[in-house]
Amino acid sequence: MTIAEEISIYKVPKTMAFTQFSEAIIEGERTVYHLKYPSLTSDDIQQMMNVVEANRESYLASLTTQEIVEKIDQAIQKWLDPDYPLRRRAEQLLPVITGYDKDMVRLELKKYMRTFRKKELLRFLDEEFDQPAMLDEFRPRKSGGMSRAFGPNTLFHVFSGNVPGVQIWSLIMGLLLKSATLGKTSLSEPLLPVLFAQSLEEVDEKLAETLAILPWKGGTAELENAAIANADAVIVYGSNKTVETMRQRVPLDKPFLTYGHKISFAVIGKEALTPDLYYETIYKLAEDISIYDQQSCLAPQSVFVEQGGAISPKQFAQILASELGRYHKKRPRARLTDEEAMAIQKLRDRYQFEALQGDQVEVYASQTNTAWTVVYHEEAGFEGSPLNRSIHIFSSENLERDVLSIKPYQSLLQSCGLAVAPDRLFTLADRLGHYGVNRICSVGEMNSAKPGWHHDGGFNLLDLVRIVDIERDVEQKMEAFDPDVE
């Protein structure tokens, strides 16, 4: 027997009332979930932004950064308790909504939440501001004078739904800058930011009143234009198409941060392929490929494997394929849309045909489905993959030389998982950086960017604030206007 359950996937200030609702229907094992959200007009958007902005003005704007950090930390602490009802709710519902394996969601979610503890938030603020207190008041500068940073009064976030959790990072960013938030979620993962907002509400009701989070169909110009017009800054996550569409609509004078499609990859030196290390190296890489089914821009799509280790690059591909098979057994990949499955099938067809022509290419793939695919290339090269646990392995005689193949992809590159001897780190890092990579990380850690990282090579908070300077002679000259001056 199936049970129907209604779930609100929006969070708006209490004074907002809606009469029209839409719903998305998701079928779980024994429950059919009706995800309910308001049907909006551009007037609703405008009204909502006015409300969150007014709530910000009357409350959030007057909190100190330290106080905000404390409040976020209290909400995060709740999420670090395995029995916290909203965490349990997320662990139960996210796998149903996203199709990701439930164990994977459980593990990744708690790991992710840990990166927002107070100490990490402080680290994050310190990373970008010499003095985070400059978000609260004018602070002396080392070169003389005083400065204060002003965040946007209102922030409009366009979230993507590929990886649960990223939206939380964006919400926290807005809070640290004392901005009121309108977050447009994607129906492919609309829940987690709403649950997090509910946690903030449990900690501080007035703080949560500065947030409005809800989905609508991406590309609805009427709603998005209203949101842009009423926001001081815009942050967009999503495909290049989404980012480009939004870019054309946002006026030049508004800060506009984008996190579009990126390609990450791994570079494995022969030093990581000795008899004692090769298995561990492959195991970790298989995790990088499998977590969230490679949907994160941090996950590798291509791998350079150096010759000269205890296993050849081809053997590397074979063991990796077998490890991906084991991973799938442990944490099955999500069910794909026809389009996604076709993309993998196309990749397989293309290279299986090439494999028949000679021995330059091999395809190692799951037999009865598209669960995992490894394409081995005898010649060094570089290619994006159709994701969902499909990967290219390129044999390399010399990594320092062969990484040049990434250069044509410069504008798309992001993380490189690197496993080489220490004396090669900086030569390779220089080259990788030069060719467009902006994050070098360990194999096995590719999906876990560290707090304070430069997301896509830029600043996060700094790019959104406006710094106001009081020049040093101003304060000195003003002394003369003190009626009590000598």
Partner: protein
Amino acid sequence: MNLKDKIVVVTGASRGIGAAIAKTFATEGAFVVVNYLKNTALAEKVVSDIEAMGGQAVAMQADVQDIQQVDHMMTEITDALGGIDVVVNNALSHYTFNPKTRKTAWEIEWQDFEQQWEGNVHGAFNICKAAMPYMKAQMAGRIINVVSNLIDFPVVPYHDYSTSKMALLGLTRNLAKELGAFGITVNAIAPGLTYPTDSSSETQENVRKSIIDLTPMHRLATPDDIAGSAVFLASDWASFITGQCLNVDGGLVMK
């Protein structure tokens, strides 16, 4: 496999390894009795899954620790189905495999051992004793007891659990010696950590990883892996195997 229409009783079959064993036997054409203690809904689900695959099964509630309930179940089975060919003693007393909260050698009490002894050995004893007359009458039968590879390699020392499983292996060997004359084989299966099951859900990720690191096949067992070995031991292919313990743990224990 020649298991067509054989009557197979699987204890603790509403979930985890037991459910997988029940389904695999059904796939091979056997008529499966899905024994359970509490989870009527889950046991019925196993039965309906089997029926959906075109198999035959029935759910029967009985506490294996209670000889009267076991006798009653066995009588019902033989009255309705005409015999018992295979029993799989898979039920266990509730146990949570959590390395962080387990009782150390200096904390554990005799009572803990008794509880495991009751669940693991007494339950299997009751089932064997009740099945024996029917198997003897048929001059054939297969008894399969689920133990654990922890008895050979206590990766985590779950004192009470592993000790009782070792005792169950002792029971297995003694029964094998005595029942061989009737054409009945008695064997054990020793699964490694099996995932996912309700019992193993609290075994932390790092412990699972360290077991995987030691395992030649580089993964944990799945309920289906265990089920395959049970079907093998019940099949004609295993006709001359008795008193053995088959480790199904990806090669973690080799002997």
